[in-house]
Each structure stands twice: as structure tokens, then as C-alpha cells.
């Protein structure tokens, strides 16, 4: 609408405005050059006291905490000084997670399930982080932290049962594959709705504080989902109530086809968002398992001491497609993965152990073989309970259970209808599974 008093009739001499639409540096076919990424040397980042004021972490929000150097040695004050057995366990969990992802991805392609999501390249952000927590600290993961379940000893067979929605599926075929839940392992039920788990984790942590408990909560969210309002609520509530919670942003650079610029990465880091809320913030090399472990342990100690919540950005790279329904060659350069300057978390940890004289290539190969066999055996075991392609494994009535604690009349009636339909559809009983 033109201001009627404007003598120029809407045509002013002000410069024309322009909309900035972010664009990633590399598209399919482009040569990749990551020289713009500032990768500081390992060991150069200071480690403030865990009880420090949140503002003291400001420099660390724009830095990158790194422990493992190019020489495959641990450096600096963030070195968690883990013993060789712990490092081998960590490497083992990461290798098993990768082997699991490989096989489940193939299973989806073979029609054994409808859907799968890998976490390739991001194994450290769940496994090393998860290992820095106590077993009964409550985790509120997104869909790409299967490594936590593996690190916490959740049976692979149970995971596959869920992925296959088979007779053994604890979630009774109700949930999309990989939306795990295990109360026994303090692993919160995964939701398809992004970022909802972040303020829920804060609420859990508030409850723990209200009850004078000693357990803390930890939550993971992708950098893309930080744009959701829930993430803002999580940060606000965490700060207001000094909740014993660790909020993690796994910045893997991509939200399906959208690069991190669409979540605001062109202007600042995700860790730096902590500062505006009064949270402690750390920005960490997410492919450096030792740095991830150290940062998570720092934040856990801080939370446990009632010193406050922490927001950690794990800077990483989503090495594979978003999911089995995604083809990344449609939106990014295939070279990105090869050129990624922070490397691969498993390779880096392996080389570190070798540099320490605690590991060698033969043992690595043997471990990889053993992981593949373990997954294969679990897959065979789970397939005894059926696969998704074999049809409906759950009694129809179970579809109506757990909507409420008790079945109300209308669900009772609908359950009876489903039973009637079952008899008409399958007069001889359900097809053989």
C-alpha cells in the first residue's frame, strides 16, 4: 500500500531490498574444497572448571574442542585419559553399530522392512557421549542415536524385532522402524515429531531435581531441528530452572536435502545459541570420540553438581543418505564425504589405539568380522519371529490396546469390528508367516 502523502507515488530512492536464500557451497558434480572450515589443532582448547559461570564458556562456543590430533595421539586438557580397555569397548560399540546399520540397510532393500536410517560417520556422537553418562541417566534421543542402545547393551535381536515389526516386536508393530523405546535402558520412546524430546528431557531433569534424585537427563537433536520452537522452549526452561540436563545438537551439516544454513549456520554456531539463554556451551569435534566423551562428561559432572545445564554442538558429517527413502546424490556433491576434514570417527579411534600400541589391523579385521557375524546371527534369530513382508504379526486386538490405560466402549466396539473383518479376510486364519 502506498503512503498517500508520498509525492513519488511509491517510487522512492531507497535501495531495493533483496531476500537472502542460503545455498550450500557444493552441489552434485561440484569439486569440494573445505578450506573455509577452521579446524583448530587438537589440544589447543582450554578446559574451564565444570562449575564455571556459563558465560566463561563463550570462547568454546566458537572454537572446536579436539583431543585426537593428526598424529593419532590425545592432546590437551580435554584428554579424558581413558584406559585402553574402555577405548577398545568404545571402538567395539562403534564398529557394531556400523555393522548393524549396514545389514539393516540391506534388509530394507531386500524388503524385510519398510524403512531404515543409518548413523554412519556419527557413531561417536551417540556412543562416546552415551558412555560418559551413568547407565541410569535418562536419554531422550532423536532417530539417529541407535549407538546408545548398543552401548547400553540392548539386545540386537530386540532392535531387529522392532525394525521388522514382527511377533517379537516389543512395540507390537505400532511404530515405524527405528523408533525404539526401552525404559529398562533409560532410553526414551522415539517420536517422529522433531525436537519434541528436547523440552521433555528438560522436564524429566526438572522432575529428578524436584525429587532430589541424582540422575540427569541428556537429549540429542539434529541441527536442522533446532529451528523448531521446542528447541527454544528446551533452552529457556533448562536455563530458568537450572535443570540437570545436557542438550546436544548433532550438527551433521544436512537436514535431508537442506544444508545447515537453513537452520541458521551461516551466521553463527549452534553451540553459540547457548550464550543467549545463559547455558554453558561447548562446540566439539563430533568425529573425535575422545573429545565427545570428555565434553559429555564435563557437562554431566556440571549437571550432577547442580551447576547447570549445558548445550553441546557435536560438529560432524552425515556420511550417508538421510534414510532409505533418500538419495543424497540429488542435492550434494559425492565428494563431500571423502573430503570431510574431520575424517571418520571409527578410523580415528582405531588409529589412536594402534598408536598407543593397544591395537592392530589384524585385531580390527577380526573385530569387524565378529561384528558382522554377531549382527547376522541376531538377524537370523529375529527372522524366526517374522519380517514385515510376511504380513500382520500382531493380534488385531492389540491395535486398540494402550491408547488408554483401559479400553473405552468405543474402542471396544472398534476392536470387535476388526475381529469380524479378520474372519472375513482370513477365513482359514492368518496366512502362514
Amino acid at each position: 500500500m502506498t503512503d498517500p502523502a508520498d509525492p513519488m507515488d511509491g517510487k522512492t530512492n531507497r535501495p531495493a531490498l533483496s531476500l537472502h536464500v542460503p545455498e550450500p557451497r557444493f552441489r552434485p558434480g561440484d569439486a569440494v574444497d573445505y578450506s573455509h572450515l577452521a579446524i583448530p589443532p587438537a589440544g589447543a582448547q582450554p578446559r574451564p572448571d565444570e562449575g564455571c559461570a556459563a558465560a566463561e564458556t563463550a570462547p568454546l562456543c566458537h572454537d572446536l574442542i579436539r583431543v585426537l590430533g593428526d598424529d593419532d595421539r590425545a592432546h590437551g586438557p580435554w584428554d579424558p585419559k581413558l584406559d585402553a580397555d574402555t577405548l577398545r569397548t568404545m571402538l567395539g560399540h562403534m564398529a557394531l553399530t556400523r555393522a548393524f546399520d549396514e545389514r539393516m540397510f540391506r534388509g530394507q532393500r531386500q524388503g524385510k522392512t519398510s524403512f531404515y536410517m543409518k548413523c554412519t560417520g556419527e557413531e561417536a556422537t551417540s556412543i562416546a557421549a552415551g558412555m560418559a553418562l551413568a547407565a541410569d541417566d535418562m536419554v531422550f534421543p532423536s532417530y539417529r542415536q541407535q549407538g546408545i542402545l548398543i552401548a547400553r547393551g540392548y539386545p540386537l535381536v530386540e532392535m531387529i524385532n522392532q525394525i521388522y515389526s514382527n511377533r517379537g516386536d516389543k512395540l507390537k508393530g505400532r511404530q515405524l522402524p527405528i523408533m525404539y523405546s526401552s525404559r529398562e535402558h533409560s532410553f526414551f520412546s522415539i517420536s517422529g515429531n522433531l525436537a519434541t524430546q528436547t523440552p521433555q528431557a528438560v522436564g524429566w531433569a526438572m522432575a529428578s531435581a524436584i525429587k532430589g534424585d541424582s540422575r540427569i537427563a541428556a537429549t540429542w537433536v539434529g541441527e536442522g531441528s533446532t529451528a523448531e520452537g521446542d528447541f527454544h522452549s528446551a533452552c529457556t526452561f533448562a536455563a530458568v530452572y537450572n535443570a540437570p540436563v545436557i542438550l546436544k545438537v548433532v550438527n551433521n551439516q544436512w537436514a535431508i536435502s537442506s544444508f545447515s544454513g537453513f537452520a541458521g549456520a551461516e551466521r553463527t554456531t549452534f553451540a553459540a545459541r547457548a550464550l543467549g539463554y545463559g547455558l554453558a556451551g561447548l562446540r566439539v569435534d563430533g568425529n573425535d570420540a575422545l573429545a565427545v566423551y570428555a565434553a559429555e562428561r564435563w557437562a554431566a559432572n556440571r549437571a550432577r553438581a547442580n551447576a547447570g545445564p549445558t548445550l553441546i554442538e557435536y560438529f560432524s558429517y552425515r556420511a550417508e543418505g538421510h534414510s532409505t527413502s533418500d538419495d543424497p546424490s540429488g542435492y550434494r556433491s559425492a565428494q563431500e564425504r571423502e573430503e570431510w576434514p574431520l575424517g571418520d570417527p571409527i578410523m580415528r579411534l582405531k588409529r589412536h589405539l594402534i598408536a598407543l600400541g593397544e591395537w592392530d589391523e589384524e585385531r580390527q579385521e577380526a573385530m569387524d568380522r565378529q561384528c558382522a557375524e554377531q549382527v547376522k546371527a541376531a538377524t537370523k534369530e529375529a527372522e524366526k519371529n517374522g519380517i514385515l513382508g510376511h504380513g500382520m504379526h500382531q493380534p488385531f486386538r492389540t491395535m486398540f490396546e494402550d491408547v488408554f490405560e483401559e479400553l473405552p466402549w468405543h474402542l471396544q466396539e472398534q476392536a470387535e469390528q476388526a475381529e469380524r473383518e479378520r474372519k472375513i479376510k482370513f477365513p482359514e486364519g492368518l496366512p502362514r508367516q
Binding site: K170, R183, S191, Q200, G203, A234, V403, F404, P408
Partner: protein, 350 residues
């Protein structure tokens, strides 16, 4: 001595509270009985709530049991989901039902589905209290009746009291319920029932028997309707403020209506509905909410399906119009005595 004691006892049995006091007492009792009950929301702590429903509770139960929150409905509902997963029994308040929408994703996608998607590993035993409904010149954002948005969501229970006695008993039952409950409080009748005649002075609850609220613990089971008055000429299905408006119209017109206060919309007391409509053969549905896809449509469909051969006339619906809630034209919008009276006449003529 004896005389004094009798008087006290008498005073107690005849004790009358308005709806605000009844709700406050229910919260107080549940905070006392169950250390897992947490009351939180905008202005509910130190100040005691913009409608005074939580007055005195923080001073009595402490700041970690009753506290103020940031202005974030998404955050309020979300942390309540997290608290429920821990094992608490949160009672969050949303200051006006009109402001519940920022929390909708957490209610619909999370609280309502948590038990189902985790096969019972995690539950969400929260009770979301929220003042709702119009008739107070609240305009577009202090008058809405969004119950149909919630009754449409599998996994949520929706409860709406119409009297102080019910408000206390239903709120206690809602808090004890292990499913998420949306508890809408008709703010028009916080202080006294409403006849629908906005130009008449409000009569305080103290003059009505429904304001007799026993001290101490009692509960009214969810899923049970209340027969407000028995009648033969027609069944009126309603809830909240409209219970009182409908009752006043029936009385003034001399219509022998049987009025059911549904109290719980999900799960609905279908037996009470069927029994009444099959007796009267006529059904009028009254709610403040807008008409299209309102809860009245569900009620109408159920009555049609289940009482078809008993019906002597088409089911009638009296509702708010399909517009946002207006400010100055409030009494043209509100489904008051004229609209209800016309519908009753039509039902009786058919």
C-alpha cells in the same frame, strides 16, 4: 459444647464454594495426598493464578511443587510430558484455552500417543487445566471452546465440569487418572451459574445446591454423565456453561426436557445418552463451540446411529456460529435463550 459442634457439622455439610474455590481445594488435596503431583503454569505460583484457582498453594506446598513457568505453552506441556515419563503427575495450567495451541503438538503427538507408541513403557498422566468458553466479553482470544480439537485425538480424555461439586470431584479423578486429561473450566460460571441473560445480575454459587462441596477427598468417575433434570419431551445433551443456560430456558418455557450434563466428552457416557434419547425420542445438542465439525456433530451422529428407530424428529444442534468469537457482537453470537428456545419449539413441532 455439643451445640457448637452440631453447628460446625451443620455448617460443614452446608458449606458452599464457588467453582474457583472447589478447584483450588481439589488441587490442595491432591498436592497433599500425592507427593508426585506438581502444579505449574503462567502466574500460578506466587500470585495464585489470574483466576485465583491456585491461590495459596505455593505458600502451603512449596516452590518445587507449585511454581510459575515461562510464557511458553509448548514448553509447559513438554516438560509435563517429561515429568510424567519420570513418574510425576503434573497438573499444568494453560491460562486460556485460546492459548493452548502452541502446546498442541506436544499434546497430540506426544502426550496422547506416548503410552501407545511405547506399548505402555511410558505414560503421560498429566491433567491440563484451562479456563474456556465465552460470555465474558473476552473477544476472539479469551472465549474459545476448542474441545473438538481434543476429542478428535486418540489418547486424550476431555472433561468439562458445570458445577463446583463436579469441578472438585472430576478434577481429583482427572489427576488420579493415568491418561492425559484436558480439563476445561468454563470461566463464565467460575463465580455463579449463568442463565444466558447477560443483562441480569450474576447469582453467586452460594445460593445453589450444586455449590455444596464436601471438604476432603472425593472423586467423580470420568466417563459418567449427570442427569440435571429428568423429562419426557426431549433429551438435551450439553456441558459446561450451556448446562445452566439450557436449564433456565427449559424452566422458563415450561419444556419437559431431560438435560444431560455430559461432564466427560471422551470417554462419553454413551449408555446415558442412549437411554435418555430412546425414552424421549427427541434430541437437542447444545454447545458454545462453533458448529462445523464441533463435538455436537459427533453426538448427533452417535444418536442417529444408535437411536434411529426411536427418533421422532431430526436431531437439532444449537451452537456458536462458524465465525471467530466476536467482541461487541458477543450476545448475537452466543447460543443463548432465543436460539435454544427456537430449537426446542422446532423439535416439539416436528
Amino acid at each position: 459444647m455439643t451445640q457448637v459442634a452440631e453447628r460446625e457439622a451443620e455448617a460443614d455439610t452446608d458449606r458452599r464454594l464457588n467453582m474457583i474455590e472447589a478447584i483450588n481445594e481439589a488441587l490442595d488435596i491432591m498436592l497433599q495426598r500425592d507427593s508426585d503431583v506438581i502444579v505449574m503454569g503462567e502466574d500460578v505460583g506466587y500470585f495464585g493464578g489470574v483466576f485465583r484457582c491456585t491461590a495459596g498453594l505455593q505458600a502451603k506446598h512449596g516452590k518445587t511443587r507449585v511454581f510459575d513457568t515461562p510464557i511458553s505453552e509448548c514448553g509447559i506441556i513438554a516438560v509435563a510430558v517429561g515429568m510424567g515419563a519420570y513418574g510425576l503427575r503434573p497438573v499444568p495450567e494453560i491460562q486460556f484455552a485460546d492459548y493452548i495451541y502452541p502446546g498442541l503438538d506436544q499434546l497430540v503427538s506426544e502426550a496422547a500417543r506416548l503410552r501407545y507408541r511405547s506399548a505402555g513403557e511410558y505414560i503421560s498422566p498429566m491433567t491440563v487445566r484451562s479456563p474456556f468458553g465465552g460470555g465474558i466479553f473476552g473477544g476472539q482470544t479469551h472465549s474459545q471452546s476448542p474441545e473438538a480439537i481434543f476429542t478428535h485425538v486418540a489418547g486424550l480424555k476431555t472433561v468439562i465440569p458445570a458445577t463446583p461439586y463436579d469441578a472438585k470431584g472430576l478434577l481429583i479423578a482427572a489427576i488420579e487418572d493415568n491418561d492425559p486429561v484436558i480439563f476445561f473450566e468454563p470461566k463464565r460460571i467460575y463465580n455463579g451459574p449463568f442463565s444466558g441473560y447477560y443483562d441480569r445480575p450474576v447469582e453467586p454459587w452460594k445460593r445453589f445446591d450444586d455449590a455444596r462441596v464436601p471438604g476432603g477427598y472425593y472423586r467423580i468417575p470420568l466417563g459418567q454423565a449427570r442427569t440435571v433434570r429428568e423429562g419426557e419431551a426431549m433429551t438435551v445433551l450439553t456441558y459446561g456453561t450451556m448446562v445452566h443456560v439450557t436449564e433456565a430456558v427449559a424452566r422458563e418455557k415450561g419444556v419437559d426436557a431431560e438435560i444431560l450434563d455430559l461432564r466427560t466428552l471422551v470417554p462419553l457416557d454413551i449408555e446415558a445418552v442412549e437411554k435418555s434419547v430412546q425414552k424421549t425420542g427427541r434430541c437437542l445438542i447444545v454447545h458454545e463451540a462453533t458448529r462445523t465439525s464441533g463435538f455436537g456433530a459427533e453426538l448427533s451422529a452417535l444418536v442417529q446411529e444408535r437411536c434411529f428407530y426411536h427418533l421422532e424428529a431430526p436431531v437439532e444442534r444449537v451452537t456458536g456460529f462458524d465465525t471467530p468469537y466476536p467482541h461487541s457482537l458477543e450476545w448475537a453470537y452466543f447460543p443463548g435463550p432465543v436460539r435454544i428456545g427456537e430449537a426446542m419449539d422446532k423439535l416439539l413441532q416436528d
